[in-house]
């Protein structure tokens, strides 16, 4: 086994990078991941990445917010300490709509973003796991696991053929900062 862990193909152009993915797939090479400075539409289908389920999380959190708001207002104004406010009913639903709506939005937004951070392991101070520093600026990077795909020469040729401007053979996974 060689010491090379990952092969990176660096592209200047997103379309050439997509071309590179196609070429690798046709030759039965697996792509580990792709790092880009902007979202690439249509890449999920190409790499077989499943649809995100975050909208479901958002919906569930939103409903939780709705229920929380209504329960809170029912508990405080109708159950725990009912008061006569201008002769109105204690559970005055039309009056409760604004706060119910606000809490729905609040729970939905925070729940969804929380789930997004949790699933991506995002938190303040997390050491960034970056394979190529320029991938957040102007390079579109295809990363290939060198141990699973052993014909390195052919990978290099395919990437070059697709228009890669630079090919790297890295013997460590992430570019360490220190």
């Amino acid at each position: 086994m060689s010491k090379i862990k990952y092969i990176l193909g660096l592209f200047d152009d997103p379309d050439e990078m997509m071309d590179g993915i196609d070429k690798l797939k046709q030759n039965n090479f697996s792509v580990y991941d792709v790092y880009t400075p902007m979202p690439i539409h249509g890449i999920e289908a190409k790499l077989g990445v499943k649809r995100s389920r975050l909208p479901i999380v958002a919906f569930c959190c939103g409903i939780t917010g709705t229920c929380t708001a209504l329960t809170l207002m029912w508990y405080t104004l109708s159950y725990d300490w009912p008061m006569n406010i201008g002769g109105k009913p204690n559970f005055a639903l039309p009056d409760f709509i604004p706060i119910t709506f606000e809490l729905t939005v609040l729970f939905c937004a925070f729940g969804m973003v929380g789930a997004f951070f949790f699933r991506n392991h995002f938190f303040p101070g997390r050491a960034p796991r970056v394979m190529e520093l320029r991938a957040t600026t102007d390079k579109f990077v295809i990363a290939i696991d060198a141990n699973l795909n052993t014909n390195h020469q052919q990978i290099d040729d395919l990437l070059k053929e697709a228009g890669a401007t630079e090919i790297k053979h890295n013997d460590r996974k992430y570019v360490s900062y220190e």
């Binding site: 909208p55 300490w81 969804m112 303040p124 960034p128 900062y177």
Partner: protein
């Protein structure tokens, strides 16, 4: 796919030659990665002086109480609530740009959404300071929250619009902040990966470990979309609820059903005016003319003339309904606004909000940077007076003529207002120094489809209909950042 060609009939959203992904990064990060220039320091010092004035005036209010303001027993609400509504309204444009225009897939939002959202957050901070300072006893600011308390858990009254407002503003602020920060993550990662030493450490902490993999981007896009979806009704609800602070009372001039839509239109109107005021200077000082183009300026001016007209219709409807209602007190409230001792405030409001924005119907005016800037300031002034008219002139002559008074602001009122503007600009100037003022990742999406160079290449290939190419060249004439000579021969 990023490679489809956009219709040539659409105006470009990025101008300039040799725009590459790297150049966008360099251009946008220039103010972040370099020492600030003189213009920034002058602006910052002036703004910081304003912010200090704010600290002094608010501190004085806390020490001496609300009595240090010009309020009296008839006019119990004046500049504080005027300033509050003004700032909240200004905040609305940021969410409108980032959320509503995202849902409508208006790509021109990509280069202005970041700074507009920042503006939203700072404006809501300014508004929140008014809320806290006009409580009089800010250490009891937790009272509107539904917390069990020492009075045997007497709860807050959820039927009260003021309690709704607490929920609306705090939700709006926190959701806007989250939306803004999530959008910032990829751009903070860009700064991190270009920096060294301490800067890298700081931006590394702030970037939450963003790496730009396929799954991160996929989740990022869906989170942005859903946040836009929930922020859109949220932004409409916030100013609706602000207007209900007034509309659910029984004061003549406030107790009207037109208030929610009228306030929301006014909020968008004033917000876009403030975005225009800020961006016309920002694009010049930071050299972002290629990203914030004449198309953006003109589009915002079109929104200003639309919402300004809606506001104008609302003013006239109010007058008509006051007359048509036959309610004596309502009629007098409006008669007093127009011809009472505060007629000048009403006249300023009408002129600045309804008359002068109509000038934007002329293409020459809405594509003229200097005039656009002045008109945007006029709108800001007019919208401040709108709130002043609604609040003070409705209150100062109440049901009992013996208690009719005028409102005279004290130096504390004036200082808090001027100070809040200083606070706003201090925060904004700090923002453009430490964070990218244009959403780089989103602007990169436009390079291959909507940029001037991509369209020029299309014309050069000669596959387009001649009249369409001609139409496109005609539309470029208004741009100040396009080299017109380049189009003479193609």
């Amino acid at each position: 796919m990023s490679s489809h060609n956009e219709s040539i009939l659409r105006e470009p959203l990025i101008t300039g030659k040799n725009i590459t992904y790297a150049k966008i990064t360099d251009d946008v990060l220039w103010p972040v990665e370099n020492k600030p220039n003189k213009a920034w320091w002058i602006g910052f010092i002036v703004a910081a002086m304003g912010a200090s004035l704010w600290v002094v005036a608010v501190g004085y209010t806390f020490w001496n109480g609300i009595g240090s303001w010009g309020l009296n027993k008839t006019v119990g609400w004046a500049w504080d609530i005027t300033g509050f509504v003004w700032w909240v309204g200004i905040g609305h444009a940021g969410t409108l740009i980032s959320a509503v225009l995202l849902l409508f897939r208006q790509n021109w939002r990509n280069s202005i959404n970041r700074s507009a959202e920042a503006m939203t957050i700072f404006a809501v901070i300014c508004a929140a300071t008014y809320v806290v300072s006009h409580m009089g006893r800010p250490w009891l600011a937790y009272w509107p929250l539904p917390l069990p308390n020492q009075f045997g858990s007497l709860w807050v009254n959820f039927n009260s619009p003021l309690v709704w407002d607490v929920f609306a503003i705090s939700t709006y602020f926190s959701v806007s902040l989250v939306f803004w920060y999530v959008g910032l993550l990829p751009d903070i990662a860009t700064i991190r990966d270009r920096a060294t030493g301490l800067r890298r450490r700081i931006y590394s902490i702030m970037s939450f470990g963003w790496n730009g993999s396929v799954k991160t981007w996929q989740r990022f896009e869906i989170v942005s979309l859903v946040l836009a979806g929930v922020s859109t009704p949220l932004v409409l609800s916030v100013h609706t609820i602000v207007s209900m602070d007034f509309a659910t009372s029984v004061i003549p001039g406030w107790h009207t059903t037109i208030f929610p839509p009228y306030f929301v239109a006014g909020a968008i109107f004033s917000g876009f005016a403030m975005v225009q005021t800020l961006l016309l200077i920002t694009r010049k000082v930071l050299g972002l003319e290629n990203y914030i183009t004449m198309f953006h300026i003109e589009s915002m001016n079109k929104i200003i003339v639309l919402t300004g007209s809606i506001v104008g219709v609302a003013y006239l409807t109010e007058l008509f309904i006051a007359w048509y209602s036959g309610a004596e007190y309502e009629q007098y409230a409006f008669l007093n606004r127009i011809s009472g001792p505060y007629w000048w405030a009403y006249a300023i409001m009408m002129t600045c909000n309804v008359v002068t924005p109509q000038l934007f119907w002329f293409e020459k005016i809405r594509t003229h940077i200097g005039i656009s800037w002045i008109l945007s300031i006029i709108v800001n002034v007019g919208m401040w007076f709108e709130r002043f008219v609604i609040i003070v002139t409705s209150l100062h002559r109440d049901y009992l003529p013996s208690s009719w008074v005028m409102f005279y602001p004290t130096w504390v009122d004036i200082s808090i207002f001027i100070g809040s503007i200083g606070l706003f600009f201090t925060l904004f100037l700090l923002f453009i120094r430490v964070l990218p003022s244009v959403a780089m990742a989103e602007v990169r999406l436009l390079v291959k489809s909507s940029s001037e160079q991509a369209k020029k290449k299309l014309i050069g290939e000669g596959k387009l209909k001649a009249e369409e190419a001609e139409h496109y060249k005609e539309s470029l004439k208004k741009y100040d950042s396009v080299e017109q000579a380049d189009y003479a021969n193609i």
